[in-house]
């Protein structure tokens, strides 16, 4: 029997795009396209098992070995710093991690900067690199309203098109880091399922023209 390669895919549109890449690379699993509520799909013939998980959980599945490989956003990798290999930039799901504030915001370096964010680790590292004293306000959603309600001076968040910011009279002041989807691997799986993983990396690299 073929050794199964377990792949954690992020639920949603990004995951579907990623699956298409895997399919093209020869790791197809037709049952994944059936309309149902199943979360695990496998193709024993090819030796692959896919499962849909919450995008922010992919790195945990991979780090703990429940998945051998997976696809996670760079934002998640920077925020949680999982102990995994980052094998490939898939050049999809592109956006940026940015500092945004009200259009009329003027930074006063003599005051502690209040930063609202879902990405406390990224924000802390960024401002530490600038030697800036900050007060982190960790929020789980609707980050954009924090400066409007004077809960914070700025926000650190993912910006894709900037439309949400614009509609809330906010604008980007600094880009911290560009974000895209990355192919990650469990460190131990990379050793023991090396051929399968290298094959996927090779095939997808070729698709991306890398």
């Amino acid at each position: 029997m073929k050794t199964m390669l377990n792949v954690a895919l992020p639920k949603g549109r990004l995951g579907e795009k990623v699956y298409a890449m895997f399919e093209k690379a020869g790791f197809e699993c037709p049952s994944i396209k059936e309309q149902n509520r199943k979360l695990i799909f496998e193709n024993e013939e090819v030796g692959v098992r896919y499962f849909w998980v919450k995008p922010s959980d992919v790195a945990i599945y991979v780090e703990r070995g429940a998945a051998d490989i997976g696809v996670a956003g760079k934002d998640i990798l920077l925020e949680y710093e999982p102990n995994v290999y980052e094998l490939l930039d898939l050049d999809i799901g592109k956006c940026r991690m940015a500092v945004a504030a009200k259009n009329d915001f003027r930074d006063d370096p003599s005051r502690t900067l209040r930063v609202a964010t879902k990405f406390s680790n990224i924000a802390r590292s960024y401002y530490a690199s600038l030697d800036r004293d900050i007060d982190i306000i960790h929020l789980n959603g609707s980050i954009e309203i924090a400066p409007i309600l004077d809960l914070s001076d700025v926000i650190v968040d993912i910006v894709e098109t900037g439309t949400t910011l614009k509609e809330n009279q906010l604008e980007v002041f600094e880009t911290i880091v560009p974000i895209s989807a990355r192919l990650i691997s469990n460190k131990s799986s990379f050793k023991f399922k090396n051929q399968q993983i290298e094959k996927i990396v090779g095939e997808i690299s070729a698709q991306l023209g890398k």
């Binding site: 980052e86 094998l87 460190k187 050793k191 023991f192």
Partner: protein
């Protein structure tokens, strides 16, 4: 004393097996106290896996710590003896913050340290013992070996600054070749050199294949002593018939403030993270005002039990339930008869969720086997 080793837990058996292995090669046990002065760890904070340490004030007011690490204590207590290598092994509990749960954990660690005039044989012996330690647990094991001297030559080839070397080292540890390429491009490294560096850093696999890639590379063409030493050590380990589990992997890195030369990490199939980690740490020795060189490794036993053993199917082999009419003689005889076959638990009634293979009920002086799943 006769020991029934079926009662030993997997990690307890592993400790005995490793102690036996290390003793055979002339390593002596280093036993230490659970506590150490906090000062030792403050001075070498970056060397620790996590920088949080459990501290307390001793009765004399001194700030003490529950040991988060064993190596520092061993170095502190060794003397420089010219031409001699002190060989120690240990099995100790260490207390550190788990990277996964972010809370303190007690971790049983077994390992060894060689301190003194470290030569190629000594390095090869330690690597072979690391490989043998892994094979003790499973034949499906991999010992990844890297050399910080080789990485340093690669950084020289790219003329990277100290700050950029730190960034590059982190990316190499992640096998993040695409961001290394970006870093090198941003630093103005020529396209040809970037290509050479990428080829070397992405090389992974058996030692012959990777060494051939290294020798072909322009980076080492002028004849690198580091590469020659690396090859000698790898070949020496292969002489011990351990080549099958050796891999060269430059993603094994270490803090260059403390480590130099060979660094390595061990994996076992089915366990999601490394179970063994080690390397040469001459720079740490120097930092601690020692003239000797040093190399060692630690085996982390906490993962082995969980992944290499199945959960117990039942609490006990036999439960004997008796009533008030049962004579002590009959009860004793029955217990002794079943104790010869396995574990026995004598109860008046069976607690909820208590699991067993055989139920023996003694009622009105009669012995009945009521349930027998064995």
């Amino acid at each position: 004393m006769i020991i029934n080793d079926s009662l030993l837990k997997y990690d307890e058996k592993a400790i005995f097996a490793l102690r036996d292995l290390y003793s055979k090669y002339g390593f002596t046990q280093y036993k230490m106290s659970k506590f150490e002065e906090y000062d030792l760890y403050v001075k070498n904070k970056d060397f620790l896996v996590s920088d949080s340490v459990i501290t307390f004030n001793d009765t004399n007011g001194k700030l003490m710590a529950l040991k988060p690490d064993v190596t520092l204590s061993i170095i502190k207590n060794t003397k420089d003896i010219k031409g001699f290598v002190q060989k120690f092994y240990y099995n100790e509990n260490v207390y550190r913050v788990s990277q996964k749960t972010k809370t303190f954990k007690e971790i049983m660690q077994v390992g060894l340290e060689c301190i003194g005039d470290i030569d190629e044989y000594c390095i090869a012996e330690v690597l072979a013992l690391a490989a043998r330690s892994l094979v003790t647990f499973s034949e499906e094991a991999v010992l990844d070996i890297s050399h910080l001297g080789i990485l340093s030559e690669i950084f020289d080839y790219a003329s990277l600054s100290e700050a950029d070397r730190d960034i590059a080292m982190k990316l190499i540890g992640e096998k993040n070749i695409h961001e290394i390429e970006k870093l090198l491009n941003d630093k103005g490294v020529s396209e040809d050199r970037v290509k050479e560096i990428k080829a070397v850093l992405s090389a992974y696999g058996d030692s012959d294949t990777v060494l051939a890639t290294l020798k072909r590379s322009c980076i080492f063409k002028s004849g690198s002593k580091t590469l020659k030493d690396f090859e000698n050590v790898i070949n020496a380990v292969k002489l011990c018939d351990l080549g099958r589990i050796l891999r060269i992997d430059f993603s094994v890195t270490g803090d260059i403030k403390y480590y130099n030369g060979i660094v390595f990490r061990g994996f076992i199939s089915g366990i999601p993270s490394s179970v063994l980690s080690g390397g040469q740490y001459d720079k740490l020795m120097k930092k601690m005002q020692k003239k000797s060189g040093a190399i060692g490794f630690a085996v982390y036993l906490d993962m082995l039990e969980r992944y290499l053993t199945s959960p117990k199917k039942c609490d006990v082999d036999t439960v004997i339930v008796y009533d008030e009419a049962t004579s002590l003689e009959l009860l004793n005889n029955t217990v002794e008869a079943y104790a010869k076959k396995g574990s026995v638990c004598v109860q008046r009634c069976i607690p909820e969720k208590f699991t067993y293979k055989t139920l023996v009920k003694i009622s009105n002086g009669e012995v009945n086997i009521l349930e027998n799943d064995a």
